[in-house]
């Protein structure tokens, strides 16, 4: 059994989930991600959409041990073991709750750089839900380049 996750709600937020589209308050400029009806800074309800970079740092994290995952992630946890998730502080300011992917124990530490990638979140009702997860930004010695996504 899985917790029900409304497809219309998912569809309405696909731009946020896949391209990290935030709302910028037209009054005070505060960014809202995920988007919300009213600005948490000034209470106004008018926003412009802006894309976030997907770059950020680990603000905090936790490991969900076997048996502890939400129902829609049951199969993922059974197949892959521990699930890492946490809060990422994006370089534009907003903090977002997300899973980490492609991680090893040494990658998980507060302040470590991460980058957003599109991954499968879960299958439900025969529909694959895609969304953002965050992967460690690793250094590639051969070329001195960042490898994030």
């Amino acid at each position: 059994m899985s917790a029900y996750f409304s497809l219309p709600m998912y569809a309405a937020s696909s731009g946020q989930r896949l391209r990290l589209i935030a709302g910028r308050c037209r009054s005070c400029g505060r960014l809202a991600y995920p988007q919300r009806a009213a600005c948490t800074g000034c209470g106004r309800r008018a926003f412009d959409e802006v894309g976030l970079s997907g770059r950020g740092t680990i603000f905090t994290y936790t490991i969900i041990a076997r048996g502890g995952a939400p129902a829609e992630f049951d199969d993922q946890q059974t197949m892959t073991g521990r699930i890492a998730c946490g809060i990422v502080e994006l370089e534009e300011g907003p903090r977002v709750i997300a899973q980490f992917a492609d991680w090893e124990d040494a990658d998980l530490a507060i302040g470590k750089p991460v980058a957003a990638v599109v991954r499968r979140l879960f299958d439900q009702e025969g529909i694959v839900r895609y969304g953002a997860k965050f992967v460690p930004v690793r250094f590639t010695p051969a070329r001195g380049q960042e490898e994030g996504r």
């Binding site: 731009g15 391209r19 492609d102 499968r120 895609y130 051969a142 380049q145 490898e147 996504r149």
Partner: protein, 334 residues
């Protein structure tokens, strides 16, 4: 009419690797020809996520933020849905624009280069417009089938248009041959079947392509992603100096094999170097590509060699788990 350019390109590989030694431990041998490892999708990856990753790298290399492309051609045999275009997920992940033509090509490993050629034809027919071609695939087969041992996953994306780029596209040619018993998948099945009849169909397809004389001989590199022996034979037949060497560290990535091999060849190509991209399967398709160097930054970020040299090796049981083979809930889904 001016030539269509590859303005930028990018490749993406999953991070997980399965060493060939894991097949020897599990089954007593590795049936694939010459791989040391293969790249395969983690539980939360598929051709859609790889396609997005490759396309984002290509777009980042252009340095223009969100790329305003007009058409998207995706060549893949293992998208999650028979109906409901996965390319709509890909385009949604790349842009908020609505006016994008989205085309999916399937049916054989040729589909990746077919997407490249179709995107080039779009650009020729619509001067000044930009098309994105993506080859992404993660072919699968039942684990007790020797053919499965080689199957990996990857993606490569190419931004096409007019103006200075990293390469220009030249002549292309294709042939289609009906095949019997090799690499087929009936509607509704998730894995490839292959009757292992040891036919020479792929070699016949390359010979047919060579016989058409539509592609110029003398390429410096044949970018095909084929096993070393088959790649060398195809290079000789088509008059190329040598074939690429991505197979031993990538495996068979379906439609993405030739595209990743082309990206790898472009990574190391000097201006003026001539490449021939070749994809084989129920026929063959070839595309002439000439490197032009390209503006600064068009090769920023990880090269294909970096991607092939990286990754995290896992054991065979972890491989089966990530591929959902051991899942009673989602084991028959792509």
């Amino acid at each position: 009419m001016s030539a269509v350019s590859i303005l930028a390109y990018g490749a993406a590989l999953p991070r997980l690797r399965l060493p060939a030694s894991e097949y020897r431990n599990a089954w007593g041998g590795c049936a694939a020809s010459g791989p040391t490892q293969k790249a395969f999708c983690a539980y939360d990856e598929d051709p859609v996520t790889l396609a997005v990753a490759a396309a984002r790298l290509a777009c980042d290399r252009l340095g223009a933020g969100e790329l305003a492309f007009d058409a998207l051609y995706v060549g893949a045999t293992t998208l999650p849905y028979e109906e409901k275009p996965s390319s709509a997920s890909i385009v949604t992940a790349l842009t908020g624009r609505r006016g994008v033509r989205v085309v999916e090509l399937r049916g054989s490993p040729q589909a990746g280069l077919q997407a490249l050629v179709a995107a080039a034809e779009f650009c020729k027919a619509n001067p000044g417009r930009i098309a994105l071609a993506i080859a992404a695939d993660a072919p699968s087969a039942p684990p007790d089938m020797p053919y499965e041992h080689a199957l990996g996953a990857a993606a490569a994306a190419f931004v096409l248009g007019s103006g200075p780029g990293v390469a220009t596209l030249g002549a292309d040619a294709a042939c289609s041959l009906e095949t019997f018993g090799s690499r087929f998948r009936r509607l509704g099945a998730t894995g490839i079947a292959d009757l292992e009849l040891r036919t020479q169909e792929d070699a016949d397809a390359v010979a047919a392509l060579a016989g058409m004389e539509a592609l110029p001989r003398g390429a410096d590199v044949l970018a095909c992603g084929l096993p070393p022996r088959a790649g060398a034979a195809a290079a000789k037949r088509l008059g190329a100096a040598r074939a690429d060497a991505v197979w031993p560290r990538l495996g068979d990535a379906g439609t993405a094999s030739a595209a990743v091999a082309l990206a790898d060849a472009l990574d190391g190509a000097a201006p003026g170097q001539r490449l021939l991209a070749l994809a084989v399967g129920a026929g063959a398709i070839g595309v002439e590509v000439t490197a032009t160097g390209g503006p600064e930054g068009r090769r920023a970020g990880p090269s294909v060699a970096d991607l092939l040299g990286g990754g995290t090796p896992v054991d065979y049981v972890a491989y089966l788990r990530h591929r959902r083979v051991l899942s009673s809930r989602l084991g028959d889904t792509a």
